[in-house]
Symmetry: C2
């Protein structure tokens, strides 16, 4: 225990994008900063690897036009971007039925489309009334936080196909079911990201572009020249006379301030002394991580493009909820990316590797034909198995969790500050939210006169 | 780290009632057993202290006639019991209105009573269809797990007073709001305990009797002569070739089997190697502890009895949800016990001590008159502030948590076994459930041939 001793101005706990950006801002402002990362690598929920003839993201991978901070950062770092391939026909699987369509919304019957539109309009109206930065300030916050999204949407009486399309979107955005989510938290989250269609969409939406070389490089580049300690899980945090002492198995760090840039669920494993205030602990107690297995399938040829398909699949029944074309920026490595999310991820996680692969390939074949069953490589990245992460894309709240605890996730506690995409006031759950939280914490530390 | 080394047949983690009973059964069967307790005391969510002229439970305190195991254990240990005082008139506070009543159900108007009866009958019918041991086996499990209890009961269109009475019962039983709970979990929990009225009741119900000397002595007496290590929080558990190594800051224990008798939320803080299966971890991720502050108010005279009141109070608006007479068995120390629970506990936890005391005393005065405002001693025991417990009375599940994870809480994993009242198939959340879980784990270990 505590072989090495550090003494700095600020310790940042967590080297994901939020932590990396916070550390960079503090470092550039002239402060002595050290980053403690529990794992053997930086990047948190972003992870890129050279696979086949390309470099692929096994974690977060997209940026959208509404996300100003990440767009600016990518430009500043001189990283090239490229558009998600969207040309051609999309596929909707609904039970045994396979439909193809173009545009944003699956080709359903006229009554189905009307219901779907009604539901989307209704949710748009509802979500605009729930402030993303403080959902508890909504007029009918209590009513909305007492029900699940499943209950909220029941009024729209969607049929199986339409429900399925919405399920696929909700699962992919949250890694969870409509049954799992507080309707209030769902609406705030939509509002933070510009609405359901913006979050679910490719062109003009949150899945518009990718980064050449992958997203993990953002954290790596931001941390360039900054003192980072890997394999340094913080076990204990003591606050004594306004100063902070952080203990890891092999290192002890003293600092004037500490920034926690972790999923809120990970804070539960740290022994704070004095203990965190009761309201905060009870809120953390109730956070849970979304469940997501990311699939990457590499192929020798982009056979779906050749058949006039975009590679996009929406499926309400699982195991894959959505699929996109994920070929490398230079098209040298054709690929599909897909998400087994929410309930389907929790089921898939319990299967052995072969059974999981078969289930996923079977869905690809149903959507794209037999060639989809023969990838040159198939990767299933189960984020719920990742140590110090525990799930993806984001931590969530069920009904009843938020209301007595407004603002608790991000409120600083003396010299302790809290970043991470879950604490964001815009684009919660996205790279953009991570950056927003870093900027907020930076100004908190600055206005504390450090 | 790991100064002392132990080598035993079974390590039991947690010296609450479930752990103590498991250790006793294993020890009496001739096995070498060691108990590792994170805290400086045994008893878990039971805690008794001499206060004033009596000994009072600041944690779990009641037993009921339907609870056969705990009744038998109490008799075997020769502990005397005494009945909760219930003579006289009860009080219902509803907004500014104070009503008094006798019997089980507050004296409401006829239409109110009809609605209340209808709701109770409806819940009785629903709960009988949800098996306590496996709620996911219920016919409409999916529908029920996709909604909160708040949504489930909305159909009964209860008015403010009736809702308030039910809120008080739900808060006291669960430490949570109707908005927080999966309707499925709520119904299974009711079923495990014999229904809402049995769980909420005194005479004939789960609050019928108390133990002379308090409940914590059960754990102490069961552990008599067994090797217990206090201040030994388990940080790491390794399973290697079917054997278990448990590491605490000052001790390392090797065993053929390990039994975890902890609230499921506390398992999240232990580093398992290999990691727990994904389904299990995702279920644990979603558990949260109820919020409960237990109030004990001592008085020089039982002024409420003298005024013909039983001391029982039901209040839907908080801060106190229910109050009971809690005088010592010999009546030498008059006392009231009350519960600030659910949302009201989360709010009270954030207040400073004086404000919290004032809020509670104000409610007592409204119910029982000015004498209630002058206790000789007033204790507010906030269980969410207790290390290695984190809340009371029990860990809970919101919507969507249970369904893909049937049985996961109690399923053994190789040489790892899981006890604790949350894993019970009967009387979940009660002393009785803790004992039931201990008996199950004992037979698991036995049939493993150890």
């Amino acid at each position: 225990m505590a072989g090495r001793e550090l003494d700095v101005d600020v310790v940042v706990v967590g080297a994901g994008l939020a932590g990396a950006r916070t550390a960079r801002l503090l470092h550039d402002a002239g402060l002595r900063v050290a980053v403690l990362e529990a794992r053997e690598r930086v990047g948190g929920r972003t992870l890129a690897r050279p696979i086949g003839a390309g470099t692929f993201d096994l974690g977060g991978q997209w940026i959208g036009p509404a996300q100003a901070r990440v767009t600016r950062l990518v430009r500043e770092l001189g990283i090239r971007t490229f558009a998600t391939y969207t040309e051609g026909t999309k596929v909707l699987l609904d039970r045994d039925r396979r439909r193809t369509y173009r545009g944003e919304i699956p080709s359903l019957s006229i009554p189905q489309l009307l219901r779907m539109q009604l539901a989307l309009l209704g949710l748009e109206r509802e979500r605009k009334r729930v402030p993303a930065a403080d959902p508890t300030a909504a007029r009918d916050a209590k009513r909305l936080d007492a029900m699940t999204l499943e209950t909220l949407r029941a009024r729209y009486r969607l049929d199986h196909a339409t429900r399925g399309a919405m399920d696929a979107a909700v699962r992919t955005i949250f890694g969870a079911e409509a049954a799992d989510l507080s309707a209030l938290y769902f609406l705030a989250y939509l509002n933070a990201g510009g609405g359901l269609m913006a979050l679910a969409g490719t062109r003009g939406g949150a899945q518009e572009e990718r980064l050449v070389g992958g997203v993990q490089q953002l954290s790596r580049r931001l941390l360039d020249g900054i003192e980072v300690h890997l394999d340094a899980p913080v076990e204990q945090v003591q606050v004594r006379e306004g100063r902070v002492v952080l203990t890891t198995p092999h290192l002890r760090a003293r600092a004037r301030r500490a920034v926690f840039a972790l999923p809120p669920t990970q804070l539960r494993g740290i022994a704070f002394d004095p203990v965190l205030p009761a309201g905060r602990r009870q809120l953390l107690d109730r956070a849970f991580m979304g469940s997501a297995v990311k699939m990457l399938a590499l192929y020798d040829r982009p056979f779906w493009r050749e058949a006039g398909l975009s590679g996009e699949l929406v499926c309400g029944d699982g195991p894959l909820s959505v699929v996109f074309d994920n070929s490398s920026h230079d098209d040298r490595q054709p690929a599909l990316v897909g998400f087994v999310v929410g309930r389907h991820a929790r089921v898939l996680s319990t299967r052995d590797g072969d059974a999981a692969r078969r289930a996923v390939l079977d869905a690809l074949v149903r959507a794209f034909g037999p060639a989809a069953g023969r990838p040159s490589e198939l990767i299933l990245q189960d984020w719920s198995a990742e140590p110090y992460v525990g799930g993806c894309p984001v931590a969530l709240f069920g009904p009843g969790a938020l209301l007595p605890s407004s603002g608790h996730l991000r409120t600083p506690l003396g010299p302790l500050h809290f970043a991470g995409t879950e604490t964001a006031r815009e684009h919660i759950g996205y790279l953009e939210g991570a950056l927003e939280s870093a900027e907020r914490v930076f100004s908190e530390v600055q206005s504390a006169g450090l």
